[in-house]
């Protein structure tokens, strides 16, 4: 239970098209993360699935049943809101019971479910408190608890961690992943934080301007981004992307460098974007890239080097350890051929 299919979902607010035809299948028990920059439509898409907004056109199916015309309550989903949306005048227990009481569930059953969820989330001592008396992390757990007790077909999480401080976010991230494993339920998690997406997701859906850019596992997105946008969006620090021309088996960058194409890769001559992740660059005497160091951010185990690459181009390299690089020093860098990403003039991956 919990397979969600979207067929050509479109949403317009007046003349503005927010979602431009989304097709997507979320499998049973999967944790899928919608990620994308602000305004890409990820929260809107989640609200369509939840039933809080109606799509302008398209069809939403849950376990093969078309639920598009159904109200939010009749879809069997539970949502965790960014603001938690706990009822401030009710105790934690009452908050968790509220939805179950709507279904006229017998009280012993309600109590049992609350007890179980409270134990799972370790919020038993908080049951008689009100949300105002809880910390951000505790409220978050209660909000999740309120979703769990309903035993929904799928959980919808709308940026649930964005109101937490950095440290708490890391631990809640792990807890949510563990919870997903324990419950085995389908979860859709919306975030703009790509680290959150990478660490939690079974699959990531990258959205931009109302369109799906790529759907894949976190590592596939990292290793084989389908286009320039995904390449730039996934991974931190972002991938080096240099515009150039493919000519005679090598790429001539606008900054002047000539980079040989990896062996076995054949691309037609013409405009091209050459991509390489900062982590895949290494200092190599006589390497194909020559750059002048502008700034070194020493993080301890590794150093992020910002450098100028000839004519206005910039280069980012993450080098292991603490290399002794002064500002203005010229370094030569190399890389493994299989780490190279090539994107055509249309922004799509060619190799």
């Amino acid at each position: 239970m919990g397979r969600i299919q979207l067929h050509d979902i479109r949403k317009s607010f007046g003349a503005v098209d927010v979602l431009k035809g989304i097709d997507l299948t979320i499998n049973e028990g999967e944790l899928v993360v919608f990620v994308g920059p602000s305004g890409c439509g990820k929260s809107t898409l989640l609200r369509m699935i939840a039933g809080l907004d109606k799509p302008t056109s398209g069809r939403i199916e849950i376990d093969g049943v078309d639920v598009t015309p159904r109200s939010a309550a009749d879809r069997g989903l539970a949502m965790v809101f960014q603001s938690y949306a706990l009822y401030p005048h009710m105790t934690v227990r009452a908050n968790m019971a509220f939805g179950l009481q709507n279904t006229k569930m017998p009280k012993p059953e309600i109590d049992a479910r609350i007890a179980e969820a409270a134990r799972m989330l370790e919020i038993e001592p908080l049951l008689e408190r009100r949300p105002g008396q809880l910390s951000g992390g505790q409220r978050q757990r209660v909000a999740i608890g309120r979703a769990i007790v309903r035993r929904p077909t799928a959980f919808l999480l709308d940026e649930p961690l964005s109101n937490l401080d950095a440290e708490l976010r890391v631990s809640m991230r792990a807890e949510l992943s563990a919870l997903h494993e324990r419950l085995g339920a389908t979860m859709i998690h919306v975030t703009h934080d790509q680290v959150e997406a990478m660490t939690m997701a079974d699959r990531i859906v990258v959205l931009r301007a109302g369109k799906v850019e790529q759907v894949d596992t976190p590592l596939n997105l990292f290793n084989r981004p389908a286009n320039l946008f995904v390449a730039g969006f996934i991974g931190a620090p972002g991938m080096n992307l240099w515009a150039g021309q493919a000519r005679g088996g090598s790429v001539h960058l606008e900054s002047g460098a000539h980079l040989p194409l990896p062996a076995g890769v054949a691309v037609p001559d013409g405009p091209l974007t050459f991509g390489i992740r900062p982590q895949h660059l290494r200092i190599e005497a006589g390497g194909p890239l020559r750059a002048e160091v502008r700034l070194v951010e020493a993080l301890g185990p590794e150093s992020v080097v910002h450098a100028n690459l000839g004519e206005g181009g910039t280069l980012l390299a993450v080098l292991p350890g603490q290399p002794d690089l002064a500002r203005g020093a010229v370094i030569e860098l190399g890389y493994d051929a299989q780490a190279v990403h090539l994107f055509g003039a249309d922004g799509q991956r060619v190799a």
Binding site: L52, A72, A73, M79, H89, N102, G132
Partner: protein, 337 residues
């Protein structure tokens, strides 16, 4: 423009500057002599003086009046009678029969006011809540509707009374319409129950916008997320109202209830212009009773009027204290959130 502005500025600031220069030395001297406390007193003094002369002093004089008798206007010429006026107001041979009370008009006014307060405040609260709920929706031309409901609040109470008398009079607009539709005219202001209902209806009409506005502010402060969470939970609209909207609206609701109570106890202007207390004593309210006994009747009795006003003041003070207490409680709750 700048020339005019500059000139205006000079006209305003020049005398102020001169005043400041004149006051500078004496104020510095005053501060040296009395310290910071003295300066505070200096700046508060004008306000305190006005308050004392126009509020505190009349209040004390009123208490003094309530312990005197006679028609004389000036206090020194009046006869001291202690609590006799209060006794006269409150004495009844049989408290189940108001006709046996010495001041039966006072008791009638009290009963009318009590009935009025209960009915008017409850209907007003319900109407204001419904109005606020409707105005809180995304209606077309919302600002227009909000203005429509708030408009009567801006009218002077006497104007409100006159407008509605013009409508409800025996030869008024409403009867003209009824006759036009082939129905018999109704004596809206000359039949006891109709007149009393009219007083309630008109005061609700006049005050509705004010209270609806306070409630609307409360409604708009309730996060939309909560309603969406309730929607996900499949909560029926009635349950959403009783379990979510109303509890979260309670702080504003309590303010509205207490303010409405205070205003209702003081009901006078609209009702007086509308019905003049009639027919008979059907719409005679406490404030009108006090006004008539003290100023308008042939046998003026300022002492009795003062005593009645002190009793009414007591009720109002209780209600005000209630409001303050509720306000404090809300503040504490707000801090907890």
């Amino acid at each position: 423009m700048t020339g005019v502005k500059g000139m205006l500025g000079a006209v305003v600031t020049a005398p102020l500057g001169a005043l400041a220069r004149v006051l500078d030395a004496p104020l510095r001297l005053w501060q040296r002599l009395t310290g910071q406390g003295g300066m505070v007193a200096f700046f508060l003094l004008p306000n305190m003086a006005i308050f004392t002369i126009f509020v505190l002093l009349p209040l004390v004089i009123n208490v003094a009046y309530s312990m005197t008798t006679g028609a004389a206007l000036f206090l020194p010429e009046r006869t001291y009678v202690g609590a006799a006026q209060y006794e006269r107001l409150l004495r009844c041979a049989d408290y189940t029969n108001l006709a046996t009370c010495q001041e039966d008009q006072f008791w009638i006014a009290l009963r009318n006011t009590g009935t009025f307060v209960v009915l008017q405040v409850s209907l007003l609260i319900v109407a204001a809540t419904i109005t606020a709920l409707i105005l809180n929706r995304a209606l077309r031309a919302l600002s227009f509707w909000r203005a429509v409901f708030f408009f009567p609040v801006l009218l002077s109470p006497v104007v409100v009374g006159l407008i509605w008398r013009w409508i409800l009079d025996r030869n008024g607009v409403l009867n003209a319409a009824l006759v036009g539709m082939g129905m018999d005219p109704v004596n809206w202001l000359l039949e006891r129950n109709y007149a009393f209902s009219a007083a309630i209806g008109v005061t609700i009409w006049a005050h509705l916008g004010f209270f609806a506005l306070i409630l609307l502010a409360g409604l708009q402060a309730i996060p939309r997320d909560l309603y969406e969470a309730a929607e996900m939970d499949g909560t029926k609209p009635a349950r959403v109202f009783w379990r979510i909207t109303l509890p979260l609206l309670m702080p504003n609701m309590l303010v509205v209830i207490v303010l409405a109570l205070i205003r209702a106890v003081q009901v006078f202007d609209e009702a007086y212009v509308l019905t003049g207390g009639g027919p008979g004593t059907a719409t005679l309210f406490l404030t009108q009773y006090i006004y008539e006994v003290g100023f308008a009747s042939l046998l003026k009795n300022p002492g009795l009027a003062a005593a009645a006003s002190i009793l009414m003041g007591g009720v109002l003070i209780l209600l005000t204290l209630l409001q303050l207490a509720l306000g404090k409680r809300n503040e504490r709750k707000g801090r907890l959130k």
